[in-house]
């Protein structure tokens, strides 16, 4: 389809503003632009059709099953959208005087309170704009805590080899050295390896629980004790909180600081990649280091500073609060149990269909298949299977993650799916497995029904074209 620049014709556009009603006042020549930016010139009707065509070429939770592991693609309730569109929220300037923003402050306070109750933390900042942003802020709390005590030797963050890529990347950004921890054959933290890695240089451990293979770290109390014993702090990556919210709390497990993803666990939409929100919770002893804002205030006595301007991705917090109100005291556990039940149900169905789980037994809210044997037998890879799912209107699971599982496909169905959706997905997967054995070529060539086939990613990276090239160039 055409790019919007290809639809542009000189002289087209919309009249949106009234004529200037004060005397003209030209920009001084020294600062004036000499060549106008080549923005599209297009009427509103064409613009509307352009974006409708783009919408048809997108795939949202509204379009079908989205079992994307580690991303918690649950249904995004419309109440949140309605609340976030209220003019009493959208029309508020971030630097209005405090007595004119009581509603915004109450939204923040109520969300913070609920998230503290759910995580077992004492304090919460809503400032970070995404999960990785929260990781960065949370790690800076750990850094500031050790520095404040005058302990500059603690420079190492321990990260399991199954962790999300953001964990080591955030630790590096916060100035730490990353030490990777091997997992056991069962997919859990290796306690002996952890003990060996802990020492006077340990600033902390970052852990996702349930972890990225979808298992609850059953030795969690021992794990946090080992790290604390060595003088380090323990960081909870909240990416997988959906499995345990209302069932078990990171604060009770011994974690000192955590981040949450409101755009995963708390049902705010992903927006094609954002905006999200990544609140950070901590125990009371870390409160003096919490972020504030130079213009808006609110930082702790020994604040790490701030990680973005103003208060928060406020409208995302409004959407999450709408969800939290609906769930109240009992809904979080109901949602978590539903997520874990659906994951085990789908896992069971896929195993029945002949797929191999990377780890046997019960899982939490997600599970990982390994297609290593299938690939050896038929040449059909995890990528081929994922691409074949596209033809059946299912968003593929997360591919090739975690790194410790070969030919990995990670499924997270979430609690907002019915049993028949899971049954149908299992049937699709069974058919794909049959085709893998009978006609592997058709899977190598998948998808067949999408608007484009597999794009040439190598060429894209080798000769990057990252903006439209205008005909006159």
């Amino acid at each position: 389809m055409e790019l919007i620049f290809e639809r542009s014709r000189p002289g087209r556009g919309s009249d949106l503003l009234p004529p200037l009603d004060v005397p003209e006042c030209p920009v001084p020549a020294q600062f004036a632009r000499k060549q106008a930016p080549r923005l599209p010139e297009i009427g509103e009707s064409d613009l509307s059709r352009h974006y409708q065509a783009l919408a048809r070429r997108a795939f949202g939770v509204c379009d079908g099953f989205y079992p994307l592991g580690s991303c918690t693609m649950k249904y995004n309730p419309k109440l949140g959208e309605a609340a976030a569109a209220l003019p009493g929220f959208t029309g508020i300037h971030p630097l209005q005087p405090a007595h004119t923003v009581k509603g915004c402050q109450l939204v923040m306070a109520q969300a913070e309170y609920a998230l503290c109750r759910i995580t077992g933390m004492d304090r919460m900042t809503l400032q970070p704009a995404a999960g990785a942003h929260g990781e960065f802020a949370g790690l800076l709390l750990i850094k500031a805590y050790h520095r404040h005590r005058g302990d500059k030797a603690r420079t190492v963050i321990l990260v399991p080899d199954s962790a999300h890529g953001t964990n080591p990347a955030s630790a590096a950004m916060a100035g730490f050295t990353v030490r990777n921890l091997p997992s056991t054959a069962e997919g859990l933290v290796d306690l002996e390896a952890l003990k060996a890695a802990c020492g006077p240089d340990t600033a902390g451990l970052m852990l996702t629980n349930p972890n990225t293979v979808g298992l609850f770290e059953r030795d969690i109390l021992e794990i946090t004790k080992i790290v604390h014993g060595a003088g380090g702090l323990v960081y909870y990556d909240g990416a997988n909180l959906n499995a345990v919210m209302g069932v078990a709390r990171p604060g009770d497990m011994g974690f000192d600081v955590c981040h949450l993803n409101l755009h995963k666990t708390f049902a705010t939409p992903h927006g094609g990649g954002g905006p999200g929100s990544g609140p950070v919770g901590c125990k009371e002893f870390l409160a003096p280091f919490l972020p504030g804002s130079a213009l808006c205030g609110n930082g702790g006595d020994h604040s790490i500073g701030q990680v973005r301007a103003f208060h928060a991705n406020f409208l995302v917090v409004v959407k999450a609060l709408a969800y939290l109100m609906r769930l109240g005291s009992t809904g979080p556990a109901e949602a978590a149990r539903g997520a874990v039940l659906n994951a085990n149900y789908l896992k069971h169905k896929l195993e029945e269909a002949g797929y191999a789980s990377a780890f046997p037994g019960l899982c939490m809210h997600e599970f990982v298949l390994t297609l290593e044997a299938l690939k050896k037998e038929t040449g059909v890879s995890a990528l081929d299977v994922a691409k074949a799912m596209l033809d059946d209107g299912i968003h593929p699971p997360t591919m090739y993650f975690p790194l410790i599982v070969h030919e990995a496909l990670m499924f997270e169905p979430t609690e907002t799916e019915t049993p028949e959706t899971l049954d149908q997905a299992a049937q699709v997967m069974a058919d794909i497995l049959r085709r893998a054995k009978e006609d592997p070529e058709s899977l190598h060539a998948a998808p067949h029904t999408t608007v484009v086939g597999r794009p040439d990613e190598t060429a894209a990276a080798r000769h990057p074209v990252v903006r439209y090239v205008f005909p006159e160039e």
């Binding site: 005087p97 890529g165 979080p332």
Partner: protein, 437 residues
């Protein structure tokens, strides 16, 4: 019911049965008893949708919405065409994930490619990324792009937005980079004698925090003379009328995209954009969409140059950024397409003219004067007596006045405010100051 579970309780019971499980505790058998919660959380009871909606509407109603906003300082009250909000609310865009599965995500990918192109056009740069969290984090990531083993110092103009300076400091605390904030001379950046062979980059803002226009070309030349990069934080709404940062010598252009069709929303979500030259393109953090083709030669878009990113490079990645502000970037693209080059120029011209109209009218009052000499865009600082009383007087009549700043007020005017509103504001200031002529 609770938790938005679509399945009926009997259906869930059958799922447990199919798994041979007695109930929830059996699902969570790996969770130790010491941390397993067997009582509801200490939170209010679940609300029906009607009750929750009423509570949220009640919260919104407790805010004061000013019909006239004469305050900017990093968040700007511009007109948002009706089509912008309608298009950005399409459920396919709102509920999609990051477009890793390119074949079913061409719509999102193309929208980002178009956004990148528009940012390149505005800034005059060769490459842009798909967005970061906001203007302040974009500034901090821009500084990180310039990190160099031999050059460990970042110079930041003192005339930059305070939240931006603080965010740069926080990121640099993480990276152990030294931050030097320049002095400010008559409201503008004073770089005299600061750039040395340790300096990796100089960060300036155009127009600056006080609304003033900096001599970008001179500052870029000073940075380059010392071997440092020049990073420009720009307000994109100005770039229909102001010269592009690339034209005056910036190596990296970043900024806050909120003025491009995003509501004020008490500070977020907003939109950080980043653009740079061909030479520095591979140092850009975050997602970037590139054009390629499928096996049949059909044009296709993909996330590209991913070898820079955290999910591939882990601790060696150029940044940890993962989620960004894709939907806000799409919103900005729709806004820029609605405005077109003519509309964007018109917005810039009206902001400029109306701000100067208000500044002239205020400064015609005895005791009121502009704090800084020289050209400004759509914000300016006045010194005036009793600024707290002035703000209270304006507030009582539905006008959010300028931001209090070291005894003065930092005003902002956009295309949205009418001459009538500006005249009304001036007459209230007169009244409060007891000027009756």
């Amino acid at each position: 019911m609770g938790g938005y579970l679509p399945a009926a309780p009997e259906e869930r019971a059958r799922q447990y049965e199919a798994l041979g499980l007695s109930g929830p505790r059996a699902l969570y058998r790996d969770v130790p008893d010491q941390v397993y919660l067997d009582a509801p959380l200490d939170l209010p009871a679940p609300k029906s949708e009607l009750e929750a909606r009423q509570s949220l509407e009640h919260l919104a109603a407790q805010n004061v919405r000013f019909p006239t906003i004469l305050r900017g300082a990093g968040a700007y009250d511009h007109y948002i065409p009706a089509a912008v909000s309608a298009i950005a609310a399409k459920e396919e865009f709102v509920t999609a994930y990051t477009p890793y599965q390119a074949e079913i995500s061409q719509g999102v990918l193309q929208s980002i490619f178009e956004f990148q192109t528009m940012i390149c056009e505005l800034t005059g740069m060769d490459a842009a990324n798909a967005s970061v969290y906001d203007g302040a984090s974009a500034a901090a990531e821009g500084v990180a792009m310039c990190r160099d083993r031999k050059r460990t110092k970042a110079i930041v103009s003192g005339a930059v937005h305070p939240d931006v300076i603080a965010t740069i400091r926080t990121y640099c605390f993480g990276a152990d980079t030294e931050v030097v904030v320049t002095t400010v001379k008559e409201g503008r950046t004073d770089l005299t004698g600061l750039v040395d062979d340790q300096t990796a980059c100089v960060y300036i803002q155009q127009p600056n925090f006080y609304g003033l226009l900096e001599d970008g070309a001179a500052l870029a030349a000073a940075a380059h003379a010392g071997g440092a990069k020049l990073i420009a934080g720009v307000n994109p709404i100005t770039l229909g009328v102001l010269e592009s940062p690339a034209a005056w010598g910036a190596d990296i252009a970043v900024g806050e995209g909120q003025p491009l069709g995003l509501p004020l929303s008490w500070g977020g979500p907003y939109l950080g954009f980043m653009a740079t030259t061909q030479a520095m393109m591979r140092k850009l953090p975050g997602r970037i969409v590139g054009q390629t083709a499928d096996a049949q030669g059909r044009r296709a878009f993909v996330l590209t140059m991913q070898a820079r990113e955290q999910h591939i490079r882990r601790e060696k990645a150029s940044s940890n950024v993962c989620s960004n502000e894709a939907l806000c970037a799409l919103t900005a693209s729709v806004y820029l397409s609605m405005m077109g080059p003519g509309g964007l120029r018109q917005v810039g011209e009206q902001c400029f003219a109306k701000a100067h109209y208000l500044a002239d009218a205020l400064c015609a009052l005895p005791g009121v004067r502009l704090r800084h000499p020289g050209p400004f865009f759509h914000e300016f600082v006045t010194d005036l007596p009793a600024s707290a009383d002035v703000l209270a007087g304006l507030e009582a009549r539905g006008i959010l006045g300028g931001l209090p700043l070291e005894g003065g007020l930092l005003w902002c005017v956009t295309e949205k405010q009418t001459r009538e509103e500006l005249d009304k504001a001036v007459s209230i200031v007169k009244e409060v100051l007891g000027i009756w002529n």
